[in-house]
Amino acid sequence: MTTTPLAVTAPQQGFSPVRILIGIVVLAALIAAPFAVYPVFLMKVMCFALFACAFNLMLGYTGLLSFGHAMFFGGASYICAHTIKVMGFTPELGILAGVAFAAVLGLLVGLLAIKRQGIYFAMVTLALSQMFFFFCLQAKFTGGEDGLQAVPRRAFFGVYDITSDFNLYYAVLVIFLIGFAIIYRAVYSPFGQVLKAIRENEPRAISLGYRAQQYKLLAFVLSAALTGLAGSTKAIVFQLASLTDVAWQMSGEVVLMTLVGGMGTIIGPVVGAAVIVAMQNYLASLGEWVLVIQGVIFVLAVSLFRRGIVGEVIAFVKARKEKAGA
């Protein structure tokens, strides 16, 4: 059975002078950003951007729609908050604990979920994530409806003070860049190419001798672990881990971010996260309308611009190049 590919192909890699220049400008802008923009907003964008990039590793590059990534995001957030608040961990150890938890959970869920494909995969991950939600609702250490509040901001490695949002911003920036670099490396490695081959034509990838199931599982664990990194960081930034982070709405939000930005593009989820977080911030006073607007964006994105913002830009540039070449 043939279906249209789920995502546009990624732009070519390589380190042309233009790309390096763009990289330097972006980095400089990121370093200067907290002088111009409210740091907490920027940190929120980076947490969700990392979340969406990790999620995109599954949807965009492996072609598997997980509707349960909230369990890794929120689960890691709980573990990070708990280890820091109750067990007295420093932030980097708390994050490490959160990531480790998300990776193990990802392994368990992945082992079950990759037995099915397509929409079944989506339903299985959604159901397992809902199970995890009920677990968090009933477990003692999560604080139930209140969540874990007032997580202390201890110094990173015992030396780097993060009590001010301004200082914390640079720690979060480093975490984001590390996470993004891992994803970039994974996507443009032979491993990433095999994932794309599985996405496009799984039987053929298997016939070429690739163990598709193992590749999918590894991608799932990697995606879960990086999602855990985003969730743990979020717990430190907002000093809070709550049920919102494990609820199914959170899984839907990350799908929306990736879809709006452009699935299967390396930078798309970052753009999508920025757009959605900004929208939530500016429209927060509208209450329930935010849900409606998110739904409308979903419908518009699926009906009209399936390639997402970045995907459309890439397609536009490509079309112009071809025109100029001809």
């Binding site: 249209t4 037995k115 099915r116 299985v124 739904g295 409308v296 994105a301 009906s303």
Partner: protein, 293 residues
């Protein structure tokens, strides 16, 4: 005997009945999902919202138009089905030749819109809906409320009629044929696009009917659908979407299992269906009644 397992028969049969009612809703919803998926290849995420619309339809009919429960039982599903068919014609139809995931994403977006609009209008807390069949019968070992008995019987009848129409009538044979090879069925002169629209309308109507039945049993609330639909997804994964009877049996069966869990180990009652799903995935990934496809 009951003393042996340490549970009062009242509690046991009461939860068993509640489980059967939940199972009735699981069965009707998963049945609709399976019928829609068979022909449209779309997992209808809006199903929960349409179930909620059915319940609200009954509430609105009563409070704005004065139509009692028995009228709403007919009017509300038809109205919701018509809205569903409009959605199919205008939005879903454009996605049929794309990856199935887009259908899931579109219907998810629609579910958000519908739920958001209702929450905006009616708030998140539930609205009461009067019981149309008050009273009950004492069966000796338990008290059987009339309305609960009615829900179980009515949904069983609806499910079995659906099964009969799809598996045993000429109309159903067209439907099953179109599920296998829509192109060939079209070539025989049957209007497949119209059939798709009507099938979607039927599946949605089934969800709305379940919603109307649920209105007096539970409260009418905007979030009643999204909580239920995830459980129904797990039911669908457990049963597999290959067979109509499979959906009915799994739905009722899991409702009863859930009810029994409430008696013997209440802490696990909200997760038991997901645990069963995980076990089924390990043992028979295609689902109990599913076929590899």
């Amino acid at each position: 005997m009951f003393e042996l397992i340490g549970v009062a028969p009242q509690a046991l049969f009461g939860q068993l009945l509640l489980g059967l009612i939940n199972g009735a809703f699981y069965a009707m919803l998963s049945l609709g999902l399976a019928v829609i998926f068979g022909l449209l290849n779309v997992i209808n995420f809006t199903h929960g919202a349409q179930y909620m619309m059915g319940a609200f339809g009954a509430w609105m009919a009563l409070n704005y138009l004065g139509i009692p429960f028995w009228g709403a039982l007919i009017v509300s599903p038809i109205v919701v089905a018509i809205i569903g068919m409009i959605i199919e014609r205008t939005l879903l139809r454009r996605l049929y030749n794309l990856d199935h995931l887009y259908g899931l994403l579109l219907t998810f977006g629609l579910a958000l819109i519908i739920e958001g609009l209702f929450r905006r209008q009616y708030g998140s807390s539930g609205l009461p809906y009067g019981n149309p069949l008050p009273g009950g019968t004492n069966l000796g070992f338990m008290f059987l409320p009339n309305y609960r008995a009615f829900v179980v019987v009515a949904s069983l009848v609806v499910c079995l009629v659906t099964w009969f129409v799809i598996e045993r009538t000429k109309l159903g044979s067209y439907l099953r044929a179109a599920t296998e090879r829509p192109d060939l069925v079209q070539a025989f002169g049957i209007d497949v696009p119209r059939m798709i629209t009507l099938t979607y309308g039927f599946g949605v109507g089934l969800a709305a009917l379940a919603g109307v039945l649920a209105a007096p049993a539970y409260q009418v609330s905007p979030t009643m659908g999204s909580n239920l639909i995830i459980v129904v997804f797990a039911v669908v994964v457990i049963g597999g979407m290959g067979s109509i009877m499979g959906a009915i049996v799994t739905g009722f069966g899991l409702g009863v299992v859930e009810g029994l869990t409430k008696v013997f180990y209440p802490e696990a009652s909200s997760t038991v269906i997901f645990v069963i799903m995980a076990i089924v995935l390990m043992v028979k990934p295609t689902g109990l009644f599913g076929t590899a496809k």
